[in-house]
């Protein structure tokens, strides 16, 4: 093939500007972002549990995985579906056992603060798992180390995972459980601004095994639930 044959290729003089654009577009292959972070999307939410004296005592957390991720969680734990596409009871119990062990450095998705001060939460307890319409739903409880009387303080629950490997979203309306309380909960979804896009692009370049340099980076993209009490 001769070099001069190239000039009789698709792009002739008349369409040179279009091809110059195509050239520029073609260079994009070198700089398109990887978008490899976050890797797992989890829907869910948090319910607030009050004790008899009206103090905020615990959080009941719900995680709802995508259908594909649910199948992968089951399969990688050597569990399968029954012939009618459901999760058998024995497998369900095994799954609960396997998923109850959080690694030491995993903080979970619930980050609670009252008037800006972080509130210590205990390790998760009371795990349950169910397969609902192909989606794996996990629920567990996180007790507050010290139950808090909210009065007129503003409590905020940020729903995120610190490294943004998991992208959590509040899709379930928060409920107020336990003793009667005069509190209201509101969901404030995350809204992106220009800075967030820059950060997201930087994160997108990370591979599955890499951790972002910025500590607590997931917090930037978190959905939040505010809890306001009358007294």
């Amino acid at each position: 093939m001769r070099i001069h044959d190239l000039s009789s290729s698709t792009c002739e003089r008349a369409t040179a500007p279009l091809c110059a654009l195509a050239f520029a577009a073609a260079l994009l292959v070198f700089i398109l972002p990887a978008q490899a972070h976050p890797h797992v999307f989890v829907d869910g939410g948090v319910d607030f549990v009050f004790d008899e004296s009206g103090k905020l005592d615990a959080l009941k957390v719900t995680w709802l995985y995508d259908e594909f991720e649910s199948l992968y969680i089951l399969s990688s734990n050597k569990l399968s579906l029954t012939a009618d596409g459901k999760l058998g009871e024995e497998d369900r119990q095994q799954l609960i056992r396997l998923r109850s062990n959080w690694p030491d450095d995993f903080e979970g998705s619930a980050h609670l603060s009252v008037d800006g001060a972080a509130v210590q939460l205990s390790r998760p307890a009371d795990f349950d798992a169910n397969l609902i319409n192909g989606q794996l739903q996990m629920t567990f409880t996180r007790h507050l180390d010290q139950p808090v009387q909210l009065n007129r303080s503003k409590a905020e629950l940020a729903f995120y995972e610190a490294t943004y490997f998991y992208a959590f979203a509040v899709t379930k309306n928060p409920r107020l459980l336990g003793a009667e309380s005069s509190c209201t909960a509101n969901v404030i979804p995350f809204e992106a601004d220009a800075q967030d896009d820059v950060l997201k692009s930087a994160l997108a370049k990370l591979s599955r095994e890499e951790t972002p340099d910025i500590a607590d980076v997931g917090a930037f993209f978190a959905d939040r639930i505010t809890l306001q009490c009358a007294s």
């Binding site: 093939m1 001769r2 070099i3 001069h4 190239l6 000039s7 290729s9 698709t10 792009c11 002739e12 003089r13 369409t15 040179a16 279009l18 091809c19 110059a20 654009l21 195509a22 050239f23 520029a24 577009a25 073609a26 260079l27 994009l28 292959v29 070198f30 700089i31 398109l32 972002p33 990887a34 978008q35 490899a36 999307f41 995508d66 259908e67 594909f68 991720e69 649910s70 199948l71 992968y72 089951l74 399969s75 990688s76 050597k78 569990l79 399968s80 579906l81 012939a83 009618d84 596409g85 192909g134 896009d197 820059v198 997201k200 692009s201 997108a204 591979s207 599955r208 095994e209």
Partner: protein
């Protein structure tokens, strides 16, 4: 035919420039589309398990669509295919053939890795996925970097020839003394060795989506459907990479439509060196060697 290609190019350029103007939007769109097709794959897998009619076709179409969108993300050698299209004299037909071969080889390798691993040495799903990410991805980047550096080397050789000999060395048919490889020959991707290197450098890194699907198929006792679905996924990625091949070659044409034959002595090797460097630099960046 030519008009059709130009029309497709125009659409592709317009869409990609529009989306790429804001990279994070493009990435977000791709991630959402991937998520949607993944869940369609899951619905089809459950349907296969319960014996629902049409589930197999649903799985194949979902994996094909997923493969196409997933190829926008990391892996699948877009920058190598695009770079080769821009910087060598490879024909469109050949480069598309290489793109398709790379994607299918990548799919077959994923099947061998996962099914072979589970069957022969009983690895865990996590081990396969970690091996892919920690060993095979870097291996792929190194291999692709070598190809980039080879292009640079060939371009440098061509430049040396062009400046050394008194006459044009564009054609090998000048009828006089023997030449070192001409620009023509140096710029080709014709040899079986070149083609194999290109295909293997991309194929060695299996697609994570394929690995997950195979892990699921193995456990759910849907091994044959899983394997064919992964091949369909490979076809999907092949379609996207072929688009990259076509647009990069068409773009290359623009340079030569407006360059006279004499300057080609220098222009062509220069572009070859440039794209070879870009390929190598992108690989180094992905290897984490550039901060």
């Amino acid at each position: 035919m030519r008009l059709l290609i130009i029309a497709c190019l125009a659409v592709l350029v317009a869409v990609s420039l529009y989306l790429a103007a804001d990279f994070s939007r493009l990435a977000e769109w791709a991630a959402n589309a991937q998520r949607g097709f993944q869940n369609q794959m899951a619905t089809a897998i459950r349907g296969l398990r319960t014996g629902e009619p049409g589930a197999y076709a649903a799985l194949l179409s979902a994996t094909l669509a997923y493969g196409f969108v997933h190829a926008l993300g990391p892996g699948h050698g877009k920058y190598l295919v695009g770079g080769v299209g821009l910087g060598t004299s490879v024909t469109t037909r050949r480069l598309i053939g290489l793109a398709i071969s790379s994607s299918l080889a990548q799919a077959i390798w994923a099947i061998l890795l996962v099914y072979g691993g589970f069957y022969v040495i009983e690895v865990s799903a996590h081990q396969v996925q970690a091996a892919a990410e920690e060993a095979l991805a870097p291996a792929s980047y190194v291999a692709i970097a070598c190809i980039g550096l080879t292009l640079v080397w060939r371009g440098v050789r061509s430049l040396q020839n062009a400046s050394k000999s008194g006459h044009e060395t564009v054609s090998s048919n000048c009828g006089c003394h023997s030449h070192a490889p001409t620009i023509d020959e140096a710029a080709q991707v014709k040899s079986l060795r070149d083609a194999t290197a290109l295909v293997l450098s991309i194929a060695i890194r299996p697609c994570t989506g394929a690995i997950f699907l195979l892990v699921i198929a193995w456990q759910m006792d849907l091994r044959l459907p899983g394997a064919t679905a992964v091949l369909a996924m490979g076809l999907g990625t092949a379609m996207l990479t072929s688009l990259v091949a076509m647009s990069s070659i068409a773009a290359r044409g623009a340079v030569f439509a407006s360059t006279n034959v004499y300057r080609l002595n220098f222009a062509f090797p220069a572009i070859q060196i440039c794209t070879g460097t870009l390929i190598a630099l992108t690989s180094f960046s992905l290897l984490g060697l550039l901060t």
